[in-house]
Symmetry: D2
Subunit: 348 residues, 4 copies
């Protein structure tokens, strides 16, 4: 089989190195080019010695490469880059998967409010597909442009989809998403707040009054539920671990929902999804059980009065970012779902 | 001033060593005796080298010491020990502060259900005072026996007291306490689940279907609010840090509550409380800002539809245990509130 | 190709779960049976949820299984177990790879001194091969029994082999091996000293006056150098990280050694070794650059007066244990060197 | 007693906040002013919430304050700042304690080589005293300017002083200092290499080919020993912990040294030093046993052939920086040695 030719724009962050780790062992893909404005000319393995002997590429100057030779281009860049380059790539028949937010929010006003950028290609945005394969596989298959979901949204949406799709939530109370992320979620940026000596042996909530993933989740909740009035309280926390995300969802079921056997409902909903694992009743997942893998695990615990606690874990850099991007690519190119994603979690 | 003579029963755990650290520098107290069944004869500083040159005591065999020579005895023991020894101590005029659960729950049936122990002295229990100084100082002053609160309950109760006391919560929705604790909360016990290689770089919820602090919190919520029907969903999480506890409270205000300026309400309520700090509007506390100190910090963030997010942080071993016990002792012996508790947080 | 049938004795520790992680994806092997005295009947994935959906085996009662149906049996047991069972397995034509110390030390007196056990099969021990593939591949190919090296010895021996083989060390000064290990090296045993709250944010030397790996290293140094008088000072340290080992070697070269271009010497020596990577001059490896992989990296820094500092890193559970065991298996069964060992390091 | 008036220049780093933590509780000192070019006008407690309610100062613009009103000024600044301001302060009768390197190296050529700065006041440098109280108390008492030692040098020099002072080392082999530091040693600077996601669960050596503390240590070793030919191999490592430093010293004794009972020698040498603790024979110190305190602990382990392993631990920010600076101040102002330094280590 002919290998898919891959381009990566902006490969010096954590989602970039994670794409490299997974794609370097992908049986049906070959990385053609990886760009970095700041590091052009540097061997990738000099920056990421974990890839010594495996990845022989140098970072290329983005101004000097022709990405139209690629079959697909991943943008592992800051918000606002992909939307500048996607139109010409798509015009040249190249598929685009953006790991930033440029193609996640269909409402450009919301996008502009939260990201302080005017959208560069609202037409293309309309065709873009939200790349959550367990929900939108049919659309992803034919997509030219994928907005790869944020890490937090992935946990909330997959944790609630079985209930939203069946209209089993009591929407008179808000969904509460008490979310916890490892520090790599903040990216590979030199900042005091995420220094080891600041973030280690420490815990804090942040963005309580407003986080960019809140509107993204809300837009999807509305779409999935068909209820524009659905409410969400989203509180993220920074956890002293490198990778891993755990979201605790507190929701109330409506009468119909309360009549269900949720454990079976969830197991049935995700039976055909290789990357979503519903834990047995009574078992709670820990984040290390998915560390380094594309797996996401869900546990459902009924509470009093129709409330339910749903715990979702994933590796924020894999299922929450680069692994999910490759999962999308596999769908777009009709490859086996788990191609390049068979890597097992690292425990301990 | 004559120094208060102190006994510590069971000094080999984390609350024990924390009592030692704080009491060794207390200006009005002197540790007379510290017992340990397993370590009798061992110098305390051999087990805890941090105390070399400061604490010269040996652990004593509990069977060989006369604790009635003490003015106050702290029990830093497993649940069930203090209730065996408290009656004779109280009869001898010795005050008792139990850091375990023996004197926290007035309902002995609830106690027996959760701790699998028949209560040994229900009469004495009735006189025992729940040792949360910011709420019950007047009773603590005259108490013979203190049930020192659990770490989680301290955060929930101080986080909600200003609202409960004024009856400002909408009790048609449950209080959600999404709580996060450092690993020292599990104690100094040899267990696989809290090994470094298990608990580090990892995150999990636990006890979702039932945790011993749930009934303790609920009993206090009922008392404080005067509403027996008040509901609580309590979900604790284990965080890869040594010390520190952060509880995120999600509550709904009733109409009266929604009319308040909560920031001022909280500041006024805790103005006279040296160990409770209400953060300025918009600022969120991190756990390291209280590490090693008896401080507890609270931040209030209004959400839509009358919901409020309240974040509370403390050091689980200090304000959540040994520091609070000393705060109670200071009240009981008419000492300055901050005697022995002036130690500042260690940051970074 | 027919798959190799594998048995694992004692699969509940960290080397056990690491064998499972790697062998579950090995293209030429299939795990037939895994035993545990304490956990017989339990699904492996209940203990190690990272393997849910991948490993379907239950732990078997060692008394109830016939290991002679296997082609090779790995012992991931405490010291002293393999030597009891190896003779009958070898007699039945089954190859044995012991990850404990039973077959590492040819001198049974030394073994008995350090492990407080009489050796159960000194005859078989004589045929056993020390399983360090980069040094002894020719013997491993035909071995019936492999003593898989200790983690510390692997770093010291591969770090020094190029010098020892050429007799380039000045043996009038001792080799100093200042070694640092992550906490998983202590195993998955319930012990206070390796609790998160004890080992995190902390650092200590241990075993300075004597560590079991000292005689193992020394025996190999003598063999490799041909100099029985060679001296070693070995000081291990416990580092607050899960995995990873870094050994800093301080040695003096003799006149001949000082005349060499060590960087080229090392590169040439390990050119054909896929799992040993000599860093470019001036670059120092970090442990995360090998996390989860079978890679070992070496950096050489010349110092004044003929001294050299050699830094060696590996993942203690992979190249230092289970990965190396599989590397040995691949040699013994004439499989590609990297079969099952292509997993890339997890960074960050 | 009249309180000493203190100025702090550059208070936004870790040594700055550590000075604040300790001085805020110093019974004989009062912080008059703290400057920061970048943060002028900001309340100190906004940057360091651990000091809320304790430190009420704002950061001052250094251009706007008159430091000559202070009795002593601490420089917690980058290298090169103190030497610009010290002359005018000294002329005004203000004592200066520099926590950076400006007054540590008497040889200005060495200073200029390592710090790439011409020395601004070589005359004043000549009068400056190296502020290691256990070695130079007599000079510190009368000093106008103190060069506060580096963290690594403190461990090496106090670990070796008893041997150097008696000329008991065999100088034909170099001193090997294999040193390990927590990440706070790198300071509170936004840098990728010390991000949590980079430095956590990781270990590396650095500066093997040359570190600025090497010439500082060497100069002091020469002075203490009287042997200009003394040799040092210094290899620092970065440990994933916030605070703490452990240096493992590998040295050889000469014949006279080998005749000594080192345990007694060390105990006698440091008997009068309240901040140096010689561990009992056979006991090894961990870094947490000094966390947050000014204590330094030493353990001596004899090896074969006259070699000795000496392990030294300290908190790099306290005895390795700010605590030692206050210890110097206490000497300079004839205060009790432990004034402000009685804070006990935080364990766990």
């Amino acid at each position: 089989m002919k290998k898919i030719k891959i381009g990566i724009v902006g490969g010096t962050g954590y989602t970039g190195v994670e794409l490299l780790r997974l794609l370097a062992r992908h049986p049906h893909a070959v990385i053609q080019v990886i760009t970095s404005r700041g590091e052009a000319g540097l061997p990738v393995a000099d920056m990421f010695p974990s890839l010594r002997g495996v990845v022989d590429l140098l970072f290329s100057d983005p101004a000097q490469v022709d990405l139209t030779q690629c079959d697909v281009v991943f943008f592992a860049t800051p918000h606002g880059v992909a939307m500048q380059q996607a139109p010409s790539l798509v015009a040249a028949g190249v598929k685009v998967i953006d790991l930033a937010a440029d193609f996640r929010l269909q409402d450009t006003q919301v996008f502009e409010h939260w990201y302080k950028l005017a959208h560069a290609c609202p037409d293309l945005l309309q065709q873009a597909v939200y790349g959550l394969p367990e929900l939108y596989a049919q659309h992803i298959v034919d997509a030219q442009v994928i907005g790869n979901p944020g890490c937090y949204p992935t946990t909330v949406l997959l944790g609630l989809a079985p209930l939203l799709e069946q209209d089993w939530l009591d929407l008179s109370v808000p969904i509460i998403a008490d979310a916890k992320s490892g520090v790599s979620g903040a990216g590979r940026k030199a900042e005091v707040a995420t220094l080891f000596a600041e973030a280690s042996d420490n815990l804090r909530a942040y963005g309580v009054a407003g986080h960019r993933h809140q509107p993204e989740i809300l837009a999807q909740l509305r779409q999935l539920s068909g209820h524009p009035e659905i409410q969400l309280i989203f509180v993220p926390h920074l956890i002293p671990m490198i990778r891993g995300m755990l979201t605790t969802l507190h929701v109330k079921l409506n009468a119909q929902g309360q009549a269900q056997q949720l454990q079976s409902v969830y197991q049935a909903r995700y039976q055909a999804s290789p990357f979503v694992d519903v834990m047995p009743a009574g078992a709670l997942p820990d984040t290390r059980s998915v560390r380094g893998s594309n797996q996401l695990r869900i546990a459902i615990t009924p509470q009093q009065d129709g409330y339910v606690t749903i715990v979702v874990v994933q590796d924020n850099l894999v299922k929450g970012a680069s692994g999910q991007a490759i999962q999308n690519m596999n769908l777009m190119f009709d490859l086996p779902a788990d191609a390049g994603l068979q890597v097992l979690p690292l425990l301990p």
